[in-house]
Amino acid sequence: MSLKTAYINARLLDPATKLDTKGGVIVENGKIADIGAHIGPKLAADVKVIDVAGACLAPGLVDMLVHTGEPGNEHKETFTTLGEAAAAGGVTAIATMPDTDPIIDNVAGVAYIDRRARQTKSVKHFPYAAMTVQCQGKEMTELGLLAEAGAVGFTDGLNPLGDVKLLRRIMSYSRSFDLLLLQLPLHPRLAEGGLMNSGEMSTRLGLSGISAEAEALQVMIDLRLAKATGARLHIGPVSMSESVQLIRAAKGQGVRVTCSTSPQYFTLTENDVGDYRTFTKIMPPLRDEENRKAIAEAVADGSIDIIASNHRPQDVDSKRLPYAQAAPGIVGLETLLALSLKLHHENKMSLLDVLATMTYKPAELLRLPIGRLAKGSAADFVIFDADEPWRINNDNLHSKSKNSPYDTLPVQGRVKHTILDGRHVYDSTKMANAA
């Protein structure tokens, strides 16, 4: 007889069905056996009961923009530490970028990730593959075969494809298999050498700027080609109001485009670079206050479809350098939920709408049968207190790298448990050093 576990006394939140009710979930054989308001303390004797004391119970987060250190940079992050960080952040599925070392641009690479990912027990792991060989923007990869091997999308990561002729061909070819293509919104030539947002702050600090046009122009090119070819395009993370406006207009014209942003773009600005704080160095760069507000508004009104962490681990030696030489990236898996919940706490969005951007919406985009609380689906969910205040502490991060600019920041909303295929992969009460 299989063991059943019931999570009762929960606030059930399923953004896909707009479910927001008190009740419980019964898990059996790693799947959701039952869910709803009718599940309470009166259960059969063979059911193990866990009372979550009114906490929120929602689908595990699906983070569609994650960089890993493995293979090649295991000193920054391994699949094991990545899984632990994901679990601590309430993330049960991640899609990882292909710009590792070696770059994931062939079937063997995808197979390797797939095999290693299966050994990682605390998060479901889906690989992207490179759009061009070695992400060099010169030659198309075997898109069809890579998709067949398990690649959920195609991107050249931090090297957006600037060769418009090749990009058009890739978009056209991808239609045959209806593949998802991801582009970082930065024109490679215009952004070349840039370190932070172009403006008064970059002028004061003497750091080369990345202009607004560098983002807007790439978005325009991508949208125009997606319109011409009918390709399935995802642009992210976007950092500017102008990008959102362009994408919104393209959606209105029937272009198959979605976009995402990351919490840093609605919580930080270029002023946070301060005294050359290399933890704030990311691509696209942090923009000004006006854009920060606009990005928050665009998430709230649904113009931005998805929030993803853009988790990019960097070890101390990659960050303790002059700003120009420091590697870009912020670790974000463990702060994704709390930082995103700011939009809810500031009354910009309902809890369900915030969660939608990190659950069924990215899952649908990646065409994965996850991100929902449904009878018969995998028991992947997160139990969290949406209001609990806590302070981010870099020392407590599970990621192997601690490059978070949010150290000591007070936030609201804390993950209590993460359940993957019915197993507890994170339990905050067992964290001895939890802040």
């Binding site: 002028t203 004061r204 003497g206 750091l207 050359y276 030696d317 350098l321 002059p322």
Partner: protein
């Protein structure tokens, strides 16, 4: 009066009072340097290290002379060709030097903010001798000293800074300093050589020399920094000289007694005409070189006093 900070990393963090303190002391050192017996004992027993990650002749020589004239032991380290090439990071270098118990570290680096990063890791005083496109505080201080000695006061002066503003740390430091002391600053350059929102630093922006230098008291020409440029910012040196090079005709648009400055080294026939550069009545270029030593003496002096004071406090606390 002592400076508020242990390091001298930029003009942006100095108060007008601190700037004047440095200039007042530098004034005295200008006179001392003109005497036959130029060697003082103020820094006797102290060690000054010039750590230059970028090639420099005049700034490094100026700091070396300044340190030696104050009686310090001074060594030059060209970090570009040695340990950094072996993979040592900037922080490693800082920690190594720190272990040698030096008193003042003078640093030049090609990356903006690098000197600050290094300063955070050492116990000695650090002077920024130029970091990337960020600041070159002692250059701005010496420029201010040159102007002050010649025009008596900086307040109300019209100063036109002309040339490659985008790549210039000298321009930034001068804008900060001149604003703090009440001068009016204009920058003059083609738009390709102007950083974004430069006007927010407190200066008027001109893209034509004819309007930019009109009625100026001081014209500060900047070098075209070919080594910092990637790609084409201006069509040619010939065209640049025609529109933005300072020659007699453009100088005549300024005030009749307008003075000319240039931090050097000059590209004659590119940003400045030799006839103007060598005009002994109008050009302050050699004064800039001369006063550079005095300003650096003042900075070394004040920072070591600051260092002694904090060491005394530490000793008292123990």
């Amino acid at each position: 009066m002592l400076l508020n900070n242990r390091h001298l990393l930029g003009i942006a963090e100095l108060s007008p009072q601190e700037i004047n303190t440095i200039l007042d002391l530098a004034d005295k050192y200008v006179d001392l340097n003109r005497e036959t017996e130029r060697k003082g004992q103020r820094l006797k027993g102290r060690t000054v290290v010039n750590l230059f990650f970028e090639v420099s002749t005049r700034t490094r020589g100026s700091f070396e002379l300044a340190a030696k004239r104050l009686g310090a032991d001074c060594i030059n380290m060209n970090a570009d060709g040695t340990s950094t090439r072996k993979g040592e990071t900037l922080i490693d270098t800082a920690m190594t030097l720190n272990a040698m118990h030096i008193d003042v570290l003078v640093v030049r680096h090609s990356a903006s903010g690098a000197v600050k990063l290094l300063a955070d890791k050492v116990n000695c005083a650090v002077i920024n001798a130029g970091d990337g496109q960020h600041e070159h505080p002692t250059q701005a201080l010496l420029d201010a000293l040159v102007m002050r000695r010649r025009t008596k006061k900086l307040e109300g002066l019209n100063v036109a800074i002309c040339g490659d503003i985008l790549h210039s740390r000298v321009a930034r430091s001068n804008i900060f300093l001149l604003n703090k002391l009440g001068a009016r600053v204009r920058v003059v350059a083609p738009l390709t050589l102007l950083p974004k929102d430069i006007e927010r630093l407190g200066c008027e922006v001109h893209t034509r020399m004819e309007t930019g230098v009109r009625d100026a008291d001081i014209i500060m020409m900047l070098r075209i920094q070919n080594e910092r440029m990637e790609g084409s910012f201006v069509p040619s040196a010939r065209e640049y000289y025609h529109f933005f090079g300072l020659d007699r005709a453009k100088l005549n648009l300024a005030k009749p007694d307008a003075l000319i400055m240039h931090p050097g080294p000059m590209n004659r026939g590119v940003e400045i005409d030799s006839e103007v550069a060598d005009d002994i009545h109008r050009s302050l270029i050699l004064n800039q070189v001369e006063f550079g030593v005095a300003v650096r003496m003042a900075c070394l002096d004040l920072l070591t006093r600051q260092l002694m004071s904090s060491q005394r406090l530490q000793d008292a606390a123990q």
